[in-house]
C-alpha cells in the first residue's frame, strides 16, 4: 500500500483527482483482500530461490525448520538429535499496536538421544515474539526461540545452538548436497484440496560437527544432519489422522525421504509420497504406488499409551531396495503439552537391508504422529 502511494506521488500526471480516486479504490481493495484471504496458500508454480527461501515466510500461516541427525563422538559413542523451530501464524495483522500482540506463535523442540546409554532427553519452548524473545527473520536465515537458535553464518554454514538443563547441542552444519525440492511444481501436495499443501525442501546430508552435552558431560561429535524446511497455510485435512515420515541416509550416498498419511478410516492416503536423492544430489519423486511401508513391531508408550511401530520394512521395488528400519531405542516419544500440545515419536533409527542384492546400511530419523491424542489433521488444519 505504501508503495502504491509513493508511486502515485512520483508520477506527475494530469487528472490528479482520478489518480487519487484510483488509489483509494486500490487501498480499499487491498485491505479488503487482506482481511479476507489472511494467509497465503502454497500453490503450484512456486519458484524456490535459495538466496531467500531459507528465511521466514510470514505470509504463510505455518512454517517449520527441522533438523535431525546421527552423530558419533571420537570414542565411538553414538548420538541422535532433533532440533525443530515452528512458527504458526495467529493473526496476520493484530489490531492491538502492543509489541506483545500475537501475530505468530513460535515453538521449538529439542531432543537428544544417547544411543549407547539408551537415554532420551527433550525440551520445548513456546513464545510469542513480544520484545524479540522468539522470531524468524525474513531477509537472512535466522530463527530463534529464547536462546535456542538456527542461523546461517557468512559462509552459508548453518549454526545450531540449543541447551536445556544438563543437555543440549551446538553444531556447525556444512550445506552438503544442494537443496532437494519435494513434490511437483514447487508444492508438496498434502490434501485433496488445492492449497492443502506446503512448499517443502530438504538438505538431506549436511556434514555436522560440534558439541553434544548430555547429563552435563560434553562430547565432541561429528556426523550428518538432515534439514527440512516447510511452509504453507493449510497442510492436512480432517480425515488425515497422522503421518509416518522417514529420512534415511544410506552408506552408498543415497538419501531417501518417504512419508505416508494414515486416514481416520485406516485407509492409506493417496498423497503419500517420497523422494530419492542419489549421491550426486539428483532427486527423483516417488509416488505412493512406488513404495511400501510395513510395520513390523510396535512399542507402547507407558505415558500416553500410544502404540508406535518402531520397526518397519521399507520396499521400493523399482529401485530394488529392501530395507529394515529399527529404532535405536524404543522410547523417543516427545510429549509437548507445554507448546504444541501434541505427542509424537521422533527418533534416531538404524537401517539395514539390500539394494540390488547388495547389503546396504544407513542411519536416519523416523517421525510418527497421530498415534496419541487428537488427529494431526485437527492440529495442522
Amino acid at each position: 500500500m505504501k508503495n502504491q502511494k509513493s508511486k502515485g506521488k512520483g508520477q506527475r500526471v494530469k487528472g490528479r483527482h482520478l489518480l487519487f480516486f484510483c488509489l483509494i479504490v486500490v487501498a480499499c481493495w487491498l485491505s479488503f483482500a487482506f482481511a479476507e484471504s489472511d494467509w497465503k496458500q502454497a500453490l503450484p508454480g512456486y519458484q524456490f530461490d535459495f538466496n531467500r527461501d531459507h528465511a521466514s515466510h510470514p505470509e504463510h500461516k505455518i512454517e517449520w525448520w527441522y533438523y535431525t541427525g546421527n552423530l558419533t563422538a571420537k570414542d565411538g559413542h553414538r548420538f541422535g538429535y532433533q532440533l525443530t523451530f515452528f512458527r504458526v501464524g495467529v493473526d496476520k495483522q493484530p489490531q492491538n499496536p502492543s509489541r506483545w500482540a500475537v501475530r505468530d506463535l513460535y515453538m521449538a523442540h529439542l531432543a537428544v538421544t544417547d544411543i549407547d546409554s539408551s537415554q532420551f532427553k527433550y525440551a520445548e519452548k513456546l513464545n510469542r515474539a513480544g520484545v524479540g524473545w522468539a522470531g524468524a527473520e525474513t531477509n537472512v536465515y535466522r530463527v530463534w526461540n529464547e536462546d535456542w537458535e538456527a542461523k546461517h553464518d557468512d559462509a552459508k554454514r548453518t549454526l545450531l545452538k540449543a541447551f536445556d538443563d544438563g543437555f543440549g547441542i551446538e553444531f556447525t552444519l556444512e550445506p552438503g548436497k544442494a537443496p532437494t525440492i519435494h513434490g511437483e511444481s514447487g508444492v508438496s501436495q498434502k490434501g485433496t484440496q488445492l492449497g492443502n499443501a506446503s512448499h517443502y525442501y530438504s538438505q538431506t546430508r549436511m556434514p555436522t560437527r560440534g558439541v553434544i552435552v548430555m547429563n552435563g558431560q560434553r562430547f565432541d561429535v561429528a556426523g550428518d544432519s538432515w534439514m527440512d524446511h516447510e511452509f504453507g497455510t493449510s497442510f492436512l485435512e480432517k480425515e488425515q489422522k497422522g503421518w509416518d515420515w522417514f529420512a534415511l541416509q544410506l552408506d552408498d550416498g543415497t538419501d531417501l525421504m518417504l512419508y505416508q498419511f494414515r486416514r481416520n478410516d485406516g485407509a492409506l492416503d493417496s498423497h503419500t509420497s517420497g523422494t530419492l536423492i542419489d549421491g550426486a544430489g539428483k532427486a527423483t519423486k516417488l509416488s505412493a504406488k512406488e513404495f511400501t511401508l510395513e510395520p513390523l513391531a510396535a512399542w507402547r508408550s507407558p505415558q500416553t499409551n500410544a502404540e508406535y511401530p518402531t520397526k518397519w520394512r521399507v520396499k521400493i521395488p523399482s529401485r530394488h531396495l529392501d530395507l529394515e528400519v529399527d529404532a535405536t531405542m524404543k522410547n523417543q516419544e516427545l510429549i509437548t503439552n507445554g507448546s504444541t500440545g501434541v505427542s509424537y515419536w521422533e527418533g534416531a533409527i538404524v537401517v539395514t537391508g539390500t539394494r540390488e542384492g547388495q547389503e546396504v546400511k544407513g542411519r536416519g530419523y523416523l517421525e510418527m504422529t497421530g498415534y496419541a491424542g487428537a488427529a494431526m489433521g485437527m492440529v495442522f488444519e
Binding site: 492491538n96 509489541r99 506483545w100 504444541t340
Partner: protein
Amino acid sequence: MNMRLFQQFILRHLFNERLRSVATILGIALGIAVVIAIQLTNSSSVRGFAAAVETISGKTSIEITGAGLGLDELKLRELGWLREYGFVSPIIEGDARANLANNQRETLRILGVDILKDRSIRDYKLQTEAQQNLTPTDFLTLLLDPRSIVLTEKFANKYGLTVNSQFTLTFGDKAEIFTVRGLLKNEGAARAVDGNFALMDIAAAQLAFNRLGRIDRVDVRLRDGVSLDDAEVAIKQKLPEGLNAQRPARRGRHVEKMLAAFHFNLTALSYIALIVGLFLIYNTVSISVITRREEIGTLRALGVTSKTILALFLAEAAALAIIGCALGLALGRLLSFGAVKLTATTVSSLYIAVAAAPPALSLKHFIIAFGIGLPLSLLAAALPALEAARVSPTAAMRGNDRLESRFRLRKLYWLTPLILLAAACFFAQQKSFGELPLFGYAAALSIIAAAAFFVPAGLFFVTRVGKHWLARFFNIEGQLANSNLAGAIPRIAISVAALAISLAMMVAIAVMIGSFRATVEYWIGQTLQADLYLRPATRSNVATDATISPEVEAIIRAHPSILAMDRFRNFDLPYEDALITLGAGDFAVLLEHGGLQFKTPREAEAKAAMRSAIGTNGVVVSESFTIKRNKAVGDEIKLNTPKGEVMFRIVGEYFDYSSDRGIVVMDRGTFAKYWGEQLPTSLTIYLKDGVNHEQTRDEILAALGDKYQVLIYTNAAIRNEVLRIFDSTFAITYALEVIAIFVAILGVASTLLTLILERRKEIAMLRLIGADKKQVRKMVVIEAAMMGGVSQSIGVVVGVLLSLVLIYVINVQSFGWTIQFRLPVLFLVQSSVLILLATALSGIYPAARAARMQATEQVVEE
C-alpha cells in the same frame, strides 16, 4: 486463697453491688474493645495489601522493578540471562472499574500476563470441564482479543456474569466493553482481593491501561535448588542501571511503613479508653475496700491473714478484668467493622486502595487483651488492695480506724504535677525515635500524669472557693453538695481524674483538629488556584496510576475557554526504605497561574527558585519530605531513575497537607529527560476570564461522552472535596474520644452511687431534719455537675497543653506537617456546657436512689 471466702466475701459483694460491677466491667470491656478494634483495623489495611501482594505473586521469588514507573519493555531484551535462574514472566498490573448491572461498580485488580510464561509462576484453574487442562495455546486463544477478560467464579456469580457475558470496564478514563472468556476457580491468584481479580493478556492490558511499550515488573520464579539469597544478590549485581530486584513481600513492607505513623497514632489514641477503664478498676476496688473496712477487720480478727486479704481484693480486680477483657474482645471485633469503615476513606485517599474487611481475632489479640488488660487491672487494684491488707483487725472493728477522708494539702500534691510538667517540657524537645514520636507521647503521658496528680489539690481549691458561691446560687443544697465533695476528696479524686484526662484528650484533639483544619483551609485557598481539576474516574487516590488518555487531553485543549493547562504526573517511587510520591508538572504554567505556598524560600525568591528548576535537576519538595527525610533547601537528594541514580537539588520547600509521605516535584522537562514522556495522572485547567466554570465543565464532559470517564471538579468543588477527606480522616478520632468520655462518665456515676450508699445515714438524717426528696435529689445532681465542672476545667487547661504537644511534636514527627495553632473557643464553650449537663445527668440515678432512702429505716438501724 480460700474459694469459699472469695465466693462469700467478694463474689456476693460484687453481685450485691451489681450496678457498679457492671459499670466497671463495661469500662474495662470498652477500653479493651477500642484497643482491639484499632489493632484489627490497622492490620486490615496493611494485611489486605500484603495478602493481595502475596496471593497475586504466586510462586514469584523475586520481582524486577524499574524506577517507579515500571520498565521500558525493550529492556527485557537485555535480561535474557534471567532465565538461567528460573522462569520469567513480564507483568502489567492495575485496577479497573467494572460497571455492572443495576449501576453497581466494583474495582477489579487486573493482572496482564503472557499466559505462555505465567503458568510457571501462577496457577490458573478455569471453571468448566471443557476449559480445564487447556494447553498454553488454548489458554492464550481465550485472551487474544484485546477486549477479552477472564474473571473469577466468585465475582461472576456475584454479578450474574457467565462466559461470553459482556460488561463495561473503565481503565483510567477509558470505558470499553469487554467479553468474559473464562472463569477462574477460587484457587491461586483468583483468591486475591476477595475475588475481585481478573486476568488479561499482557498486550490487551498494555493497550487498556495506556501502557504500550512498558511493563510494570518482571516476576521471576527461581528454579528448584537455587538459593533465594544468593540469587537476589547475583541478580541485583547483573541488572542494568535503573532496574532493581526485590522480593514481592517488600511491597507489603513499604506500605506498612507508609501507614506506620497513621497506625501508631490511632493505637496511642485507642489506649486512652483503656487507661480510663483502668481508673475505673482502681476506683471500684478502692471503694470496696473503703466501704468494707469493718468486715475486713472482722475477717482479720477471725484469723484471716493479711496476705489472704490482699489476694481477695486482687482476685476481685482479676474477676472484673477477666470478664471485661473477654467482653472487650468480642466487642472489639464488632467495633472493628465500624472502625474499618471510618478509616477506609483516609487509608484509600491518602495511602493505598485497599478496602479490606477486618481480620478475624487471632491468638495475638487474646494475648493483647489479657496480657495488657489483666496485669494493668491488677496493678490498678494493687494500691487499694495493699491498703486493705494493712487494715488492723481491732481498730477496724472498733470503727476508730476510719480511712482518712479529710484532705490536707500537702506539698506532694502541687510539687509532683510541677515536676511532671517539667519532664513533659524536656520530652517535647527530643527528636523522634525513628519515625515514631515516642518522646512526644512521653511528654503527653507526663502531662496526663501531672493532671491526675493535680486533681485532689484542684478539688480542694474548688471546694474552698465553691463554699460561698454555691450557697449563693443553689442555696442550702449547693452548700451541702460542696461540703460533701470537700469531705470526700480522696475518694472522688480518681473518678474526677479519669474524667478530666479523657476530657483533656478530647480538648487536645479538638484543638489540634481545629487548628489543622484552619491551616488546611488557608492552604487550600493559597494553593488551589486553578479553575478546573480533572482526573480519571477510576483514580481514587494518589497511589493508583490511572492516567489520562491523549484523546481526552486533545478534547480539552480544543475547548475555546481554556487559557492554560498543567499536565501533572505522579507515582510512587521507592526512596531510601520507604515510598515517596514523585510528581512532574509544568513549572512555567504553575509560575504564571498557580500558587504553591512555599515555606522556604518565601515570596519572590520562591518564584525565582522554581524558575531556576526549569531545565535543571532542581526539585521542589513538600514539607513532610524535608522533615521526615531530614533535608533542607539547598540539599541534594539521590533518586532512582530509569537512567540510574541521579542527584537532584532541592530548590524550594512548600506546604502540602495532601499526603504525609513526602512529595518531590520536578518540571516536566526534567522529568521527561529521565523517565520519558508519560501520560498525566491529572490535569489542572485555567480558564479565560469571564468564562462560566460550571458551564465549561459540563461542555467538556459532554464532549467526552460515554467513552471517557473523568471527574472534573470546579475550584469550589475541589475545596469541598479536600475538606471532606480531611473531616473523614478525623471521624475515627472523635469516635474513639466519645467512647473514652463515655467510660469516664460511667466512672463518675459509679463513684457517686458509692458515695450515696456510704452516706445513707447522713442522707437519712437530712430527711429527718426536714429535707424533702427534691432537695436531696438536687444536692446529688449538683455534686455530679461539680465533679464534671472540675474535670472539664482541668480538661480544658491540660487539653490545650496536650494540643501543643500534638501539634508541635507528635504531628510534626509523624506526618511532617506544620500546623498553625488556633483555639476553637466556640467548641470549648459548647463542650463544657455539654459535659456539665452530661455529668449532671449521670447524677440523676444516684440522686433518685438517695431520694428513695427511707429516713426511718436508716435511723432505726442505728
